[in-house]
């Protein structure tokens, strides 16, 4: 209070007049209080949500297995009827077994941890995908942002030139900027190898600048007339694009900079190259990179498809972990393997497995997460979580916690609805050292 009043002593004349006018005209009548009330009613405010905890990670590489990865044939192997023809193998971590489709990952289990008791409420692809990406269930009235947007909203980018979030080889269902500003939306790349489209000036620099100037002249009146957040966002987008085009960091997208041996090690397929690109981008301080591997919806011929898919996944993931580790990047990067739901342990008549939201598995590595751990356990038939049940928000909260994001800080949508990163999920603390 003393400080407060002393502060009042050294008001400038300008400040004094501004304050006086404002109060006389009723401009500030209780606006500070209103803002405060909004913050206080939630118990925390923006400032309070500051460095309560020490972040252990800076970036996320999010490997998304689209279609619903079968947990029984990959991360949570079983014996007997439900296993089908798949055997389990031991791993670098004592007591942890993986499916024989994952030999590479088995060698890296000392740096990765499994979450075997995830359980979701969504059993359809679109809804499950959305839920996994946003921690909120799909609804008509609002679109929720994904983790990439949350990171940028709370902490901004590290590299101001490159986009804060990049999505490689995936659709746009869930995980966009949602109700947040569109500048937080990920840059979507169809394929890892083609780089950023249209990132080269097709004309001379002078001509390019002339065109730019012309465009600005056209826009100016409109911008003045509609000086709003969403309109300004377009301008920001242009500025970002220009900065990217002129940047040295653009070569982060260029996989030809890597040696053939490295490219080969990741696997000569879209997902493998995507993981390599993810590593390059994280190295250039892009904070959230998502790589999608599709085709996991194995209702029929499960074992043929899974052997192929798990092969790509295993090669890319194990190489990625090794590569991140030796560059010291695994210290500050969470690698996460997620999917929308598991698949039925019971093999159907088409030799396939169907949707199974009740229990499935994920993987977390790096960024302060301990290696060689398993959280949660399913029963012998892989059908029920018998220990350490984890909801989808819990899983995402774990990633957010590693990043040091304030889990309880509320961000309001335009319609003033309150949302938090990972919707009240509780991080799995046993995974942190």
């Amino acid at each position: 209070m003393n400080d407060l009043l002393h502060k009042a002593d050294d008001l400038s004349r300008r400040h004094f007049l501004a304050q006086a006018t404002k109060s006389l005209l009723g401009v500030t009548v209780f606006t500070p209080l209103l803002a405060q009330a909004a913050a206080t009613s939630q118990g925390k405010s923006a400032a309070a949500a500051g460095p309560l905890r020490k972040p252990t990670a800076r970036n996320v590489i999010y490997l998304y297995m689209s279609g619903g990865m079968t947990h029984v044939d990959t991360l949570d192997p079983k014996t007997g009827e439900v296993a089908g023809p798949v055997k389990s193998i031991s791993t670098a971590a004592d007591g942890i077994f993986l499916s024989e489709y994952m030999p590479g990952l088995a060698k890296k289990m000392d740096v990765a941890s499994l979450v075997r008791g995830i359980s979701t409420t969504q059993g359809a692809h679109e809804q499950g995908n959305y839920y996994m990406h946003t921690s909120y269930t799909m609804r008509g009235t609002i679109t929720h942002p994904g983790l990439g947007a949350w990171i940028q909203k709370h902490e901004g980018r590290t590299n101001r030139t490159l986009p804060g979030s990049v999505r490689i080889g995936g659709g746009a269902n869930g995980g966009g900027s949602g109700f947040m500003e569109s500048k937080y939306a990920p840059l979507v790349l169809g394929s890892a190898t083609e780089g950023v489209k249209n990132s080269r000036m097709g004309v001379s620099e002078k001509e390019f600048n002339d065109r730019l100037m012309l465009a600005q002249q056209f826009d100016e009146a409109f911008h003045q007339k509609y000086n709003q957040k969403n309109v300004r966002a377009y301008k920001d987008m242009y500025d970002d694009a220009l900065r990217l085009m002129k940047s040295e960091d653009l070569k982060a997208f260029d996989l030809s900079q890597e040696s053939a041996a490295v490219r080969e090690a990741y696997g000569n397929n879209g997902f493998g190259q995507g993981c390599l690109l993810a590593r390059r981008l994280v190295e250039h301080d892009v904070r959230f990179v998502e790589v999608t591997l599709g085709g996991w919806d194995t209702h029929s011929n499960n074992f043929t498809s899974v052997e192929r898919l798990a092969g790509s996944l295993d090669q890319a993931l194990s190489t990625l972990l090794t590569d991140l580790e030796r560059r010291g990047l695994l210290e500050e990067t969470v690698v996460c393997l997620a999917t929308e739901f598991g698949r039925t342990p019971l093999i159907n008549d088409d030799d396939g497995r169907d949707h199974f939201p009740q229990a499935f598995s994920g993987l977390l590595a790096g960024g302060g997460i301990k290696g060689g751990m398993v959280h949660g356990k399913t029963c012998e038939r892989a059908e029920n979580v018998v220990e350490g049940k984890v909801s989808v928000p819990d899983f995402n909260a774990t990633i957010a916690y590693a990043l040091g994001l304030p889990l309880d800080q509320i961000v309001y949508s335009a319609s003033k609805r309150p949302f938090t990163v990972a919707d009240k999920g509780q991080p799995i603390m046993s995974l942190f050292a």
Partner: protein
């Protein structure tokens, strides 16, 4: 007749009052932000809460009467309006004074003081309204006098002066009403809890300039969680109220000058760490208490900032959404030498069979249907002591801490969805039952099983966190100007300790010219982690690193650094992680690091380091992992 200017034209007076109040508003605004930073909540007592609504009510009454007076010209009620306005003015002055008195003791001091400012404005507006009304009335009566009421109602045309008075009066009245209404409805007041008049009295006593008097008036609110043991490391208690003398002496007058009823306290010494400030809870030092032997696996969380924050005497916030704090595993906390463990004593001693005789029967009848052997909603079972202690993935009962005990919070939450028992199953429980649970948890949540709770959740921190929290106390916070300048230039800076003294700085994308580590010298001790990847630094540029003795993690990857550069790293004894990937260092350079006994990870992929050099370092520092990338 012509219009006479009164001697003190009231609008002028009220405008002056507002002008005087306004400079303090900006200060109050910043204080509000600061208070918000603590997740503050207004803590006041019964008296204040009930008095708060009086001005609004009285002004509303006056407005209604005014309508009544206009309707069919019921002039007779006009003295009543004046009476109500007089009362309203008095009440708002009282509220303003009380809010000011409470502001040093409440947790949302800034909010309350801002509120006090506005109540001053309200008081001025009401007084103005009162004065204008009286002027208008007396002038009207005066103009009626020459023509006494012979023929019933005589409609005398109003003069322009009268019209002005009436318009001014109405504006002032409506303004006062709106301000009080908006202000009060937006005050997130705690209802009838926490420190009350006794604390206000105490702060008053302080304000009267007796800081050294060892008077300890009884604090009305029982505060069992707060230790009475004075702690040598107790941080600064909330500032004592400023003395009016200093206020009046200030260059800009304070709004309180407009409040006539303010007692004039003698100058006090606010900087003196008042030896006895019972109105403010003794701040617990961030005591690294060794984990409770009772249940280390369910160690309750405590955000790091709370560790150093002042412990509120009355923690529960019913309005808080039932988001339990992040549960954390029990980290075997390294006891830091400087820390004094706080001895916590349960204030109210309950009989050891309290749980068995009072709490258990309540749980059995109210909770076990859904949280028992048949159903385990929310993965929570409450049918045995072990199950209660286990909680639902996070602890539900935390001895001595109501705020962290969701078992209690769910009983009192206003959120119908979170309320336990659910509204359709008999919730909420009777107030006396809730009070019983509260008392039990406050007294240490004794299950009667012989396991004595410590009464305080151990500080939960990330690995090495205790050390860092201790370290952060020893380091003065970085000057904001330097940090701002770095951030402007493109540095990415994250705070790594609750008080913001320790920093993680990433200079990879620094744009404002080449990175010059000498710029960091003023905050050298603040740097816990430093990322210099791809900054084109040369060996000689690394010299300022030697001063960053708190450095735990250093990223030098992708620079043309040689062994000569590592010389500057030799003295960084706290260093745990060193990334030399893609540099020019050799085995000889690595050998220089042998003195860094805390080193855990060294990355030397793509350097000239050989397996032999790595092995040599691993021999010199037991436990270090040298990653050659093979």
């Amino acid at each position: 007749m012509t219009f006479r200017w009164p001697r003190f034209y009231p609008p002028v007076v009220s405008v002056a009052a507002v002008l005087m109040a306004s400079p303090c508003l900006s200060a109050a605004e910043s204080a509000v932000a600061a208070a918000a930073a603590e997740g503050a909540e207004v803590v006041t007592g019964h008296l204040f809460n009930s008095l708060l609504y009086l001005p609004t009510g009285l002004v509303l009454g006056a407005i209604l009467l005014e309508f009544f007076a206009q309707w069919k010209k019921n002039r007779e009620v006009e003295p009543g309006i004046l009476f109500l306005l007089f009362g309203a003015a008095g009440a708002s002055v009282s509220v303003a004074v009380l809010a000011y008195l409470f502001s040093p003791v409440g947790r949302a001091s800034g909010q309350l003081s801002l509120f006090a400012m506005w109540m001053t404005v309200v008081a001025a507006a009401i007084s103005a309204a009162f004065y204008l009304k009286r002027q208008a009335r007396s002038q009207r009566l005066f103009s009626l006098n020459p023509a006494p009421q012979l023929a019933g109602r005589v409609v005398v045309p109003r003069t322009s002066g009268q019209r002005g008075l009436i318009i001014g009066y109405r504006i002032a009245l409506v303004l006062a009403f709106l301000i009080t209404l908006v202000g009060i409805s937006e005050m997130p007041l705690s209802q009838a809890r926490g420190p009350s008049l006794a604390q206000a009295t105490q702060s008053l006593v302080q304000a009267w300039g007796q800081p050294e008097s060892p008077v300890r008036p009884a604090v009305t609110a029982p505060s069992p969680a707060v230790t009475e043991a004075p702690s040598p490391a107790a941080p600064v208690t909330p500032a004592a109220p400023p003395s009016l003398a200093s206020l009046l002496g200030a260059e800009t007058p304070s709004p309180l000058a407009a409040v006539p009823a303010t007692p004039a306290p003698a100058p006090s010494t606010p900087s003196a760490p008042a030896p006895s400030t019972p109105s403010t809870p003794v701040a617990a030092p961030p005591a690294p208490v060794s984990p409770a032997p009772s249940a280390p696996a369910t160690t309750p969380p405590e955000s790091e900032s709370m560790v150093s924050a002042t412990t509120p005497p009355e923690p529960p916030e019913p309005a808080k959404p039932a988001v339990p704090s992040v549960p954390a595993p029990a980290v075997p906390v390294k006891p830091a030498a400087a820390a004094t463990p706080v001895v916590k004593t349960a204030a109210a001693k309950l009989p050891s069979n309290f749980f068995a005789t009072k709490i258990k029967p309540m749980i059995d009848s109210k909770c076990v249907d859904c949280h028992g052997s048949t159903k385990q909603k929310g993965d929570l079972r409450l049918d045995s002591v072990a199950a209660i202690k286990k909680g639902a993935g996070h602890p539900v009962v935390v001895a001595g801490d109501l705020e962290l005990s969701s078992f209690y919070q769910r009983l009192i939450t206003p959120d119908q969805e979170d309320l336990m028992p659910p509204p359709d199953k008999g919730g909420p429980l009777a107030p006396n039952v809730i009070a019983m649970v509260k008392a039990w948890i406050e007294a240490g949540a004794d299950f009667g099983d012989g396991v004595v709770a410590t009464g305080q959740p151990p500080a939960v921190v990330r690995p090495g966190g205790v050390l860092e929290e201790e370290k952060s106390k020893a380091v003065p916070p970085p000057p904001a100007a330097i940090v701002d300048q770095l951030v402007q230039g493109g540095a990415v800076i994250r705070a790594m300790s609750a008080n913001g003294a320790l920093l993680d700085i990433n200079l990879t994308h620094y744009e404002a010219g080449p990175v010059n580590l000498a710029d960091l010298s003023p905050i050298a001790k603040n740097i816990l982690a430093l990322d210099l990847s791809r900054t084109r630094l040369k060996d000689a540029d690394l010299a300022p690193l030697a001063g960053m003795t708190n450095l735990v993690r250093l990223e030098l990857k992708r620079n043309t650094i040689t062994d000569a550069g590592l010389v500057h790293v030799q003295g960084l004894v706290e260093l745990e992680t060193l990334n030399l990937f893609d540099t020019q260092v050799t085995d000889a350079g690595l050998a220089q690091l042998a003195g860094l006994k805390r080193l855990q990870k060294v990355f030397v992929f793509n350097t000239k380091v050989t397996a032999g050099g790595a092995a040599a370092l691993q021999k010199a520092i037991p436990g270090v992992v040298v990653n050659l990338g093979e």
